[in-house]
Subunit: 329 residues, 2 copies
């Protein structure tokens, strides 16, 4: 049975107010009484009622998180980092998954606001005026990560564009003349928020320009990208680089190329993006872009807690990346 | 500014009680008034106060989850399944991570109980009388998954022992005569709850016996298991099978064997356990044991919600597995 403040008060023969003073370390009672109350509370395994308490102090000490899913390795790692940092700072984490569906995401945000989370870390698929006006209705502070909405919203992300540009520098430096770019999410351009994918594509184009690659790249925005590759004849005369906007596409591409007996990287080069931890078991080692996913989780929580406690976010500059030189380029 | 029931009542020129009736679909008001109240509530973007509400109905509509971490692919997949099913049933998920530390886990459980979650899904590293007596103090229903505590606690798991036994059947059937078994968590035997690992080991022994393998296996309980392998000379005369209690160990072992130029499976066979999704990118394809991780998440939520609403868990038989015949045995 749930032990209440009243139960403790009865046993200690003091008022409920005195018990409350002792438990919440407030003044107005003797040290002897305080000790007695705390001892009885411990013996009776008294647990403070946070639900009632949160009504009083106006905080629930929880941070809500909206992610796409956890099947993506990077998201799981991100959530792990968020939970660790939040717990360190005394906060709990509500996890909600949108499955990349805009209407699901709205439900997630609605629920989190209704549950009175103290802040929301949002990896959004939504964008546009209507969505911003929807978000503006809430008092709950929001930090967007990866997918940027507008300057109105606090943002923690990485230098995606610069990273892809530098990846192209590296590939061009290795003598590749023709480029294929694979990014199925680009099919959603203008429909959902695919900011990170757009940035990577812009960086790709800027990289081509900077390296005077004049041959037009093939941009594959199709989830059937392996089928698209089946229509291409790879010759030994021209080195082709297949640039993938995430490691998972790159791994699928490598599986296909290996099955076709094509040599990586001699005939076809493959570039990924993410540096997921499983790469160390795959041969050849994928060349890719590494970025500090844990840091994004950590920084967004720190900034949120600062906002909750002191009213301001901690402005976070775009985080840096690193080209991982594997064996596939 | 937060819209309250009183605000809506003022605008509609009705009492707060009438607004409450309309919002919660209770009888005692006219259809016309109900429609008017709902319209105004929507226009004003009224959000029900779940924190206050949970005090009244005595439920928070949240399920707490205690896992080790999300770096392990299977745990991320499990949490994803839990979140999906919970949301479908109208529940929210609090995620807490113990990092496999018994004292962290106690903190997680304490917090979840204090936050008044309606139930806890627990992947525990704790065990023993003291821990059970600690758990018994709470009214919150608990479902244990994977690591079994005792018959006192509801449990959802898989036929681990049977799975490993059948894996040995398969390996022995392929002509392997010597066995190495790798399971670093066994170093914690008697210290923390490693039930699944113990079951797998028991199944391994039972499999050896059933297949009349008389040569003593080498059991490696060391996290430096690759170093242990370095001391072993693999000859071409005796086929050795390295049985790993999870895929991640098996992938490390395959990396080592490949580096040493040993042929898999001709000289050394490797068996995993988990069938993580990344295996499809690794050659040779790892032979492993697949089990329905999503189903464990789904079933545990369904059982918990039944307990919350109707007082009883849905008893779940141990879930089944499948031997995935890859190329490594």
């Amino acid at each position: 049975m749930k032990v209440t403040i009243k139960d403790i008060a009865n046993i200690c023969r003091v008022s409920a107010g005195t018990v409350d003073r002792a438990l919440n370390n407030r003044t107005g009672i003797s040290e002897k009484t305080r000790k007695k109350v705390l001892k009885v509370a411990e013996e009776m395994n008294y647990q403070p009622d946070y639900t009632a308490r949160s009504l009083v102090i106006g905080k629930t000490m929880t941070i809500g998180v909206v992610l796409f899913d956890l099947y993506n390795r990077s998201f799981a790692q991100l959530l792990n980092a968020i939970e660790l940092k939040a717990r360190e700072l005394g906060y709990f984490v509500y996890i909600t998954l949108s499955d990349k569906k805009p209407e699901n995401e709205i439900n997630c945000i609605d629920y989190l606001v209704n549950r009175k989370v103290d802040g929301i870390i949002l990896f959004t698929v939504n964008q546009g005026e209507q969505f911003e006006s929807y978000l503006s209705k809430f008092d709950t502070p929001i930090i967007t990560i990866f997918n940027y909405i507008s300057e109105k919203w606090e943002y923690v992300g990485i230098r995606e564009r610069q990273a892809m540009k530098e990846a192209v520098d590296y590939i061009a430096g290795e003598g590749y003349q023709k480029f294929i770019y694979i990014s199925p999410p680009l099919a959603y351009l203008g429909k959902t928020n695919i900011y990170t994918q757009e940035e990577r594509l812009s960086g790709f184009y800027e990289g081509l320009k900077r390296n005077d690659i004049t041959s037009n790249p093939l941009i594959v925005k199709n989830s059937e990208y392996i089928k698209e590759l089946e229509n291409i004849t790879f010759s030994k005369d021209v080195k082709v680089a297949i640039v993938c906007s995430t490691d998972l596409y790159a791994l699928e591409v490598m599986n296909y190329l290996k099955k076709k007996g094509l040599n990586i990287p001699e005939q076809v080069g493959v570039m990924g993006f993410d540096d997921i931890d499983m790469l160390k078991y795959v041969t050849p080692r994928l060349t890719t872009v590494k970025y500090p996913i844990d840091e994004i989780g950590k920084r967004s929580v720190e900034s949120m807690v600062n906002k909750i406690n002191f009213g301001d976010f901690i402005s976070t500059p775009l985080l840096d990346y690193e080209i991982i030189k594997g064996e596939s380029i």
